[in-house]
């Protein structure tokens, strides 16, 4: 039985629950549309108009246009869908990881290698 809304706090981590899913729906729906090459091209042609078509709010639009992943997460984005937006700009997971942790890509990659030792 659910008796209250106590959430686990894990530093640097957001669990994509109902609250976040509600908040981020428009942004995630836009990202989901990028499965289609035609939609990816349409985004590149006029990013702001594309965001408007999917009803992004100002916070989501600003975050998407800036490609700042932490801002997109704060606006309700989900990593699996955001990856499709990142893909349009050729960002790989080490670019995205480096950006979010404030590290250089080389330092981020070294950190991953270190985790395997």
């Amino acid at each position: 039985m659910i008796t209250g809304k106590q959430k686990r706090v894990i530093p640097g981590t957001t669990m994509f629950d109902g609250d976040v899913a509600r908040k981020g729906y428009a942004l995630n729906k836009m990202c989901f549309s990028f499965n289609s090459a035609e939609n990816r091209a349409a985004y590149l042609e006029d990013k702001e108009a594309y965001c408007d078509r999917y009803g992004l709010n100002e916070q989501q639009k600003k975050a998407a246009l800036s490609l700042q992943v932490l801002d997109m997460l704060a606006a309700g984005g989900n990593a699996y869908y955001l990856a499709k937006l990142g893909g349009i700009f050729g960002l790989d997971m080490q670019d995205v990881g480096a950006q979010q942790t404030g590290m250089t890509k080389e330092a981020f990659k070294a950190k991953l290698v270190e985790a395997g030792k």
Binding site: P11, G12, N28, Y80, A115
Partner: protein, 279 residues
């Protein structure tokens, strides 16, 4: 009755698809990962499965947040892969087994696992990459398939204890099918990784290795954890290891390790491979 020949759990990082397309198997970065597979392929050649039941999670190819099933099963004669948006090659269609799908649907719902049933279903890298690793370059894939999709996207996710029971029900469904087919159960995803947030790049080798060991000897150990526990211990996407647990449940009873491999990192992920058979 159908026979479960064993199970294989494996990581499904999308960039593996690109590495295969670019023939990077012997590249120093990729070699420790790809070198894990020949013993598994030898085992598959020995046990000769006809069908693979593949337990995986969709990443926004077939399912979106408009309709997000906790447990879904394919019931199609054929499953297509499609463009996922970030440029890994699209693979040819996979043959389904509609008879087994519907038998499993009947059996699972009888056991109170109320499946979402899909007569059309796109399968993403989490389904295609493992098959590409086990049967490299074989198009069409030499086994028929039944995809089972577990929600790892939108919380709440199914609890580990529930996933294990779900896996057991999958095992009983397969073994009660009136057929002489040989079935391999595949679980995909994990191991520890986190793509999002300031904790991006989180990997927990100690937990992963313990998890792989316990999956053989004491899978109920994993079911003591909650989903938030697993997120804390393995990362927001590391929680995909519930697919491994589900596949292990389907093996019903004691298993022995056929082969295992573990290598960090592949992209941002701790890669794992664990092949098991009944003892």
């Amino acid at each position: 009755m159908a026979k479960i020949v064993g199970g294989i759990n494996v990581t499904h990082v999308p960039y593996i698809g690109r590495a295969i397309a670019n023939k990077l198997q012997q590249d120093p970065y990729w070699k420790p990962f790809f070198d894990g597979f020949p013993p598994v392929r030898q085992w598959l050649a020995k046990v000769k499965p006809d069908i693979a039941v593949v337990i995986y999670n969709d990443h926004g190819l077939n399912f979106f947040l408009d309709k997000m099933p906790t447990f879904a099963i394919g019931a199609a004669a054929e499953y297509n892969n499609a463009d996922e948006g970030w440029g890994i090659p699209t693979l040819p269609p996979y043959q389904g087994d509609v008879d087994l799908s519907w038998h499993m649907i009947d059996s699972l719902i009888e056991e109170e696992f109320d499946m979402v049933t899909c007569q059309e279903m796109l399968v993403d890298h989490a389904f295609t990459i493992p098959l590409e690793l086990f049967w490299p370059g074989q198009h069409p894939c030499p086994v028929r398939t039944v995809p089972i999709c577990v929600n790892t996207v939108q919380f709440p996710l199914p609890k580990p204890a529930r996933c294990f029971k779900f896996g057991q029900a999958i095992g009983r469904a397969i073994e009660s099918w009136d057929s002489d087919a040989r079935v391999v159960v595949i679980g995909t995803g994990g191991l520890s990784h986190q793509l999002d947030g300031q904790r991006a790049g989180f990997i927990n080798k100690e937990f992963d290795l313990m998890f792989m060991e316990k999956l053989i000897s004491d899978p109920l150990w994993v079911t003591r954890y909650s989903i938030p526990d697993l997120v804390e211990l393995t990362g927001t996407q590391g929680v995909e290891l519930i697919n491994w647990l589900t596949a292990r449940g389907a093996l019903l009873g004691e298993v022995a390790k056929v082969h295992a491999n573990y290598h960090v990192p592949i992209s941002n992920t701790a890669s794992g491979l664990l092949c098991m058979e009944a003892v």
